[in-house]
Symmetry: C2
């Protein structure tokens, strides 16, 4: 008899029929003898409607009141989900985030979970109920309602699984699991049976839209093993867990392509101490997130200069240029070259640490395809390159074939 935490997102509970489907699945697990805690999101569309209502009243809402408003979305779903289980004859009870004992800090709209005291969850489980918990929400020690921000329902599920010492945490979604690459771009992409927290973090950070980083970070921190799987069928999904020996045998776990970046190059930056720090401090002050940074060796003996390139999120490009233009007089670089037509291709795998020549093989593959590499950056378990946007998908397919062909 296992204790299982399941999480269903907004599209899985998007209408009464889908809520009934979720209830059927939960009832099946329960019939096997498992104890279940089910975390649900707001029905798809509901949160957007609430935001629209708020905007009709005031353009920029108080974050405390926004949380009060948005928390109703999940509260609606939990009640309906409990009713759907009742319709199948399964005892079930709904709990808000506050009732489930999810205590957060007071940073409204993006609160952090401080601790969980799931007294009511335990009591209802002990009396034989399926417990339905509202995802995405909690309350402060002072009793203020908070929400956890993007991906908050995943976080609720993983944090509850940790607090309850659940045997299993299942994140139900509309894909089959985590793939070696986006199947819409790489037809031969394979579903992974397992992946490490770090690999998933690097893939997500490199543009793969599977889960929010902080849910994965939380799972890693508290060693919560979880499974990402489809709510549309009974196929096993992908298990996310700590690295073990066998996982190092696979050199590359996945390939991701991020088309949402832009590159800025500063030509002729005087090669003096403090130049780079001035550039990136100014960007940080403007709340611009910089991803890759590459600086080449300097040229010219008398007053040496260097070229500095970095990437930012595409929507931040104009803002970044303004910031850089403001520094021109102070720093004295020669020219700024913005480039929106780039893509970032990354390969990720813990096996990289024990297999040499991975980066070289990636570069060779791209060379054989006649694709030029613009920037390179590496971490312990990732190699990323920036290349021409138009060649991004071709590059992804080639690299996937080189490392991951089945």
């Amino acid at each position: 008899m296992a204790l299982i935490v399941q999480k269903y997102g907004g599209s899985s509970v998007g209408n009464p029929d889908r809520i009934k489907n979720v209830a059927s699945r939960v009832a099946q697990y329960r019939a096997r003898g498992d104890r279940l805690v089910v975390v649900v999101s707001a029905m798809s569309g509901v949160t957007d409607n609430l935001i629209k209502l708020a905007r009709e009243i005031i353009p920029l809402s108080s974050e405390r009141e926004m949380d009060m408003l948005l928390a109703t979305g999940e509260q609606t779903t939990i009640a309906l989900a409990a009713m759907a289980l009742h319709a199948l004859g399964v005892p079930a009870v709904s709990l808000t985030g506050a009732q489930a004992g999810i205590v957060t800090d007071g940073v409204h709209t993006k609160a952090k979970i401080r601790n969980i005291t799931p007294k009511q969850v335990h009591a209802w489980l002990d009396s034989g109920h399926v417990v339905i918990v509202a995802g995405f929400q909690g309350q402060t020690p002072e009793g203020q309602i908070t929400t956890l921000g993007r991906g908050g329902s995943d976080l609720t599920a993983i944090a509850l699984a940790a607090a309850l010492r659940a045997d299993l945490c299942q994140i139900y979604t509309d894909v089959e699991g985590i793939y070696t690459a986006d199947p819409r771009i790489v037809p031969g992409a394979l579903k992974l049976d397992q992946i490490t927290y770090d690999e998933l973090l690097e893939l997500a950070g490199a543009g793969a839209k599977v889960m929010q980083l902080r849910s994965v970070e939380f799972a890693k921190k508290f060693s919560v093993i979880f499974e990402v799987r489809s709510s549309l069928n009974d196929n096993p999904g992908t298990i996310v867990k700590e690295e073990n020996k066998s996982m190092e045998d696979v050199v590359i776990r996945g390939v991701s392509l991020d088309k949402n970046q832009a590159k800025i190059t500063l030509i002729g930056v005087p090669d003096r101490p403090g130049m780079a720090s001035r550039v990136f401090k100014a960007l940080a002050d403007a709340a611009i997130n910089v991803d890759m940074i590459v600086q080449n060796i300097s040229h010219g003996a008398a007053s040496p200069t260097t070229d500095l390139s970095f990437t930012v999120d595409k929507p931040d490009l104009l803002k970044s240029q303004k910031v850089i233009d403001g520094l021109k007089k102070d720093i004295g670089f020669r020219q700024v070259i913005p480039n929106e037509a780039i893509a970032k291709l990354s390969i990720v795998g813990v096996g990289m640490r024990s297999h040499s020549g991975v980066a070289a093989r990636m570069f060779e593959t791209l060379a054989l395809e006649g694709i030029n590499i613009d920037m390179i950056s590496t971490s312990e378990i990732k190699v990323s390159v920036v290349l021409d946007l138009a060649k991004g998908e071709q590059a992804m397919r080639a690299v996937h074939a080189a490392f991951l062909k089945s």
Copy 2:
């Protein structure tokens, strides 16, 4: 600087524009220096939509889950109302019933308020905020969300006014106040400046749809003076309070007409002890609410029989007949005559106690109109008669003119 509790119903907060209107009114009071607690209902239509969603899942919902679901309606309004005040530059904060300290028993969908510990309300008031409280809801001492049933938001407002020792409690609605009669039937009906709790209770019990009985009972029990007034203009409304000397000078406070009753007459009931109790016990067991009961003196010396008449709510007529038919063998009455075509006309006033001849004057007025009286029943401050439904409105106008013409 007064502490005022205001309550706005579902149609007063039915869309973003109306919520903004409510905020403007609240802001005006605050500009005068008053401290404000504002109780709001769900936006009109929202509760019905939630009930519809629940019915798509299961025909008869668990009452606990229904409360969880319906409580989201008021929670949405409080957040939007707080935002609307922010838009006017007024500091405001929303509180759910639970956060406002409204503790109820555990009878879901019709919970009774046990006590109120408005710690958070006091704290927010003290820091200069308008406090918006979700009507209709509370929580049990164990932290379960409950709702108070029909008219629950009025009850929230009056109970909060009592707990906070508010200087004034204003119930905003879509009528100007309480009238001497329904103005749609009696064109000369007058708005009352004041009325006693008991008179309002008798009028409401006699079919005037102003407020739920239990809110008025609660106000009477805790001596909460409240005002019923319009949210559409700034006219003063009707003050509801304890009786005082001056209020006895008015003989009749109001006239009400209830067209929602039906009459059942049992002809030839054996005049033996226990007959009436058997009839009304059987009706009570079937959860049928009996209003007026009239039994005449008996006829026949050897085996005397009597006629027994009573009224029930019109929708209960068929069910009542079935119950009575089931008693025929046991009791042995001769005939049952149901009559749907009746109306109950009532006059109400505490002045009745010190003015004699009130009933006689009512009967005389009806006689002059050529209207026959079918049943009569009186209480200390009310006289009710049952008459032909077709003559009901004519009778109401005549009696109103006799007692209340301006």
